[in-house]
């Protein structure tokens, strides 16, 4: 008798667990603040999160720099590839904000040129020192600059995680380099479908 009662209860709890917020990537719903920034977009316009919450789109937030030859384009290409594998109606409800941590070399123009290689949903952002510090402190994004070589070239070490927010700007999940594409695809699909109600 007890067994008969327990099994359905167990199944109910199990299913509830599955439909909850346990992402296949890392949950940040309790550990990160909502989407909040003031930056300059790749069209040279000063924008805040409100400008990107009006169309009901989920947001991926990634920090990097255009002179990054390997990790940044690899990450963005991966996001582009997974995004392309989504149904068109889901894809239309996603934007990827790529924020430069290299304000000395990156401009709205260079960001626009760079993001054009990945797709229309990729939007470059720059900020002055204080705007950048503000947004990177908020999301605990670290970055540091190596010593420039004799030609003035330097590399930037930076947090490589991608943060995901729902269409209202609530924090959802964080993608690490080690997470498989299939986990990202599953979480993105859920995140966008959740936003559509």
């Amino acid at each position: 008798m007890l067994k008969r009662l327990c099994l359905p209860l167990f199944i109910a709890f199990f299913l509830a667990g599955c439909t909850g917020e346990d992402w296949r990537t890392t949950d940040i719903s309790k550990t990160m603040p909502p989407l909040d920034f003031k930056l300059v977009n790749e069209n040279g316009k000063t924008v805040t999160e409100e400008d990107y919450e009006t169309e009901g789109k989920a947001t991926l937030l990634f920090f990097g720099y255009t002179h990054c030859p390997d990790v940044c384009p690899t990450t963005l290409a991966r996001l582009a590839k997974v995004t392309k594998s989504l149904d068109q109606d889901l894809r239309d409800k996603l934007q990827v904000l790529f924020v430069s941590v290299d304000p000395a070399r990156d401009t709205p123009q260079s960001m626009a040129t760079y993001t054009s290689a990945f797709g229309p949903e990729f939007i470059g952002m720059v900020g002055d020192k204080s705007e950048l510090e503000d947004v990177t402190n908020r999301y605990r994004i670290a970055y540091s600059y190596d010593e420039p070589d004799k030609d003035g070239n330097y590399t930037v070490t930076h947090t490589s995680a991608v943060l995901a927010f729902d269409s209202q700007g609530n924090p959802a999940f964080m993608l690490l380099q080690s997470d498989p594409d299939v986990a990202l695809k599953g979480d993105l699909t859920r995140l966008i479908e959740k936003g559509q109600g």
Binding site: C68, P69, D70, C72, P73, S110, T113, A117, H158, S178
Partner: protein, 147 residues
């Protein structure tokens, strides 16, 4: 005019090395060589697989090409959630072993483009191996979306 000249030089290079990946002596084999080009004046990355078919260890010490002013061997690594990049002065490949330059790991970093490049072009890169003749390799220019 300069672009034309570059294309010409590139074209000739392609012609000369189009016999390609199988080297006459068949000793050091490079396959799947691609140069990931990004729009704008930013560095590109080169990836490939190298097989040391010789019976001696080889030491890869760098690369150069007419299409970029500077080429460096680099390695990306992930440490405590941070992406880092370091220059790598040399890479040893034991006899019979393979070594792969791949995204988020070892890569050639091409800096300061000096030729006009388009997706689908071929770029000849000379790999420098200590104590041996340079190894010419054709890199296919690809878009980040094609990798």
């Amino acid at each position: 005019m300069r672009n034309l000249l570059s294309s010409l030089v590139l074209g000739i290079s392609v012609f000369v090395f189009s016999s390609g990946l199988a080297f006459a002596d068949g000793k050091i084999e490079v396959t799947d060589a691609r140069l990931r080009l990004l729009p704008g004046d930013v560095p590109a990355a080169g990836y490939f697989k190298l097989h040391n078919g010789t019976d001696e260890a080889i030491k890869l010490v760098g690369a150069h090409t007419g299409a970029y002013k500077k080429v460096m061997m680099h390695m990306s690594m992930e440490k405590d959630g941070m992406a880092e990049m370091h220059a790598v002065p040399e890479i040893d490949v034991a006899p019979g072993e393979d070594f792969e330059f791949a995204p988020s790991g070892y890569h050639l970093m091409f800096m300061k483009r000096s030729a006009l490049l388009q997706y689908g072009d071929k770029v000849t890169v000379m790999l420098k191996v200590e104590g041996q003749k340079n190894v010419p390799v054709n890199f296919k220019v690809v878009s980040p979306a094609d990798m």
